[in-house]
Symmetry: C2
Subunit: 286 residues, 2 copies
């Protein structure tokens, strides 16, 4: 098992709002340290599923009940629901409680909370654990999903220093490694390494025609794996981070044209060099 | 173990020219049926590696010695070396022997052999097993790599019917499932499902910048896996199938522009539908 830090004295009860793959994995990771985890879902059946999967100790369809006595609330909902849930949770919490999330975009969520609820902003530390899957649902959650994974924290201008300190300790307790940057830095970089690749994966899948299907190999399968992701979740991500993703699409289009020129050149020197450079860049990440 | 057909009576000895990942796996697959497999490599050290990996029974640096008494010669060399090796092997073989290959492109190889050596053309059945890896070398070969995988046969105008029949039986003996199409159909479809995705994978890898590296997740890793492939091999593939790949790049560019429009639209209906369609297309392949 991944070596976890000693549980901070102040941390004994956590609420997870939305217990799917990621929320469920956060719950399971915390339960390894003996932390009491409460689930919240609007649907009773989801509450039962979360308990059955051992992702939470108990679960409630009432937000105030779920949050009661919790030092930390983790919002694991689609990105377009996070600000609203954070503000609602704030009313149920003690003054020194922490609110955090797992959303794949950050700038718009932080800005929405700042403009709508300064009190929530002080408690809120936006977070993004770089962990997940094209799979969904608490039945695919696992306790070690976050172990050793980067968790990006993007505090806003109003975030209290004490909240940021607690957020670091909290996310370390899930098994994560903490990185801190601004919300916009996060969104620009995620557009490059996650949101654009996701759309390209969908694009490759959409281009598949019937006669080519029997010729599919492992390369195509790997490249289109994430195209199986939840369209609703990805539509919300695209909407939240539209400008940064558009900029990445334009960058890709320009580089695709450069690559086309190299390929069209009967002298293969430049294409070979380009393939070598790309391989070196890939191999450097391993 | 995959259920293999009974070994045809005529098939007892096979030469593999080039015993790397794929050639080695073909050799191992055949040895399961008690077929004697001979390796050929220009380097003595590669011959020793092939024997040490149990991919072949024996191995030689002399082509004529390797081919002697073989009913089948399998050329597992880079695509730009296959025609030359097929013609050289033809001189060492009986009249009813079969020459086949594992190259990722077909039209140019078939055309080259047709124009340079009609006698070789009769024996030659171009083949492409849809199996492989970004890894290379006989140390990564395995006996079941071809089990259940599609093996595309693309006979030319001069290919003898008897050669095609033997090729079908031979490739079934490796564990493969036989599909037959024209060399150009193969190349057009492979450009779509393999060669374009490979270049896109390299493109995504090449776009990675330093500050984004800590934010890489499993999606980026999967999409850039094949970018680790051998640049020399892929340069040869690109050169052989240039026109079909250029056509696929143009198709991708056009569809990328359509996708960009959907993303830029504040009304997300069209983007959501597109993501759903891409997911459905992907999920239909599983």
């Amino acid at each position: 098992m991944h070596s976890l830090p000693d549980k901070p004295a102040w941390l004994s009860r956590v609420a997870i709002l939305g217990v799917g793959l990621l929320g469920g994995s956060v719950g399971m990771s915390l339960r390894r340290s003996g932390i009491h985890v409460r689930g919240y879902s609007r649907r009773q059946s989801s509450c039962q599923d979360a308990i059955a999967a051992a992702a939470v100790d108990d679960a409630f369809t009432d937000l105030a009940t779920a949050c009661e006595g919790c030092q930390v609330v983790v919002i694991a909902a689609p990105v377009d629901k996070i600000a609203e849930l954070a503000i609602a949770a704030n009313d149920c919490l003690a003054a020194d409680a922490l609110i955090t999330d797992v959303g794949s975009t950050k700038a718009r969520i932080v800005a929405e909370i700042e403009s709508l609820s300064p009190a929530t902003s002080q408690k809120f530390v936006a977070a993004h654990p770089i962990a997940g899957s094209e799979k969904t649902g608490v039945q695919n959650a696992c306790p070690d999903l976050l172990d050793g994974k980067a968790v990006i924290l993007t505090p806003g201008a109003d975030t209290a220093t004490a909240s940021l300190d607690r957020a670091k300790a909290f996310w370390r307790q899930t098994g994560g490694r903490i990185l801190t940057m601004t919300p916009q830095q996060h969104d620009d970089r995620l557009a490059a390494v996650s949101h654009l690749p996701h759309l390209v994966s969908s694009l490759l899948a959409s281009l598949l025609d019937e006669p080519s299907m029997p010729l599919i190999g492992s390369g195509w399968k790997d490249m289109t794996r994430v195209a199986s992701g939840d369209p609703t979740m990805w539509t919300a991500i695209c909407q939240h981070n539209r400008d940064a993703i558009l900029a990445q699409i334009d960058r890709l289009s320009a580089e695709l044209a450069v690559m086309r020129e190299k390929l069209a050149d009967p002298d293969t020197t430049s294409l070979m060099q380009w393939l070598q450079d790309a391989k070196a860049r890939k191999d450097a990440t391993q």
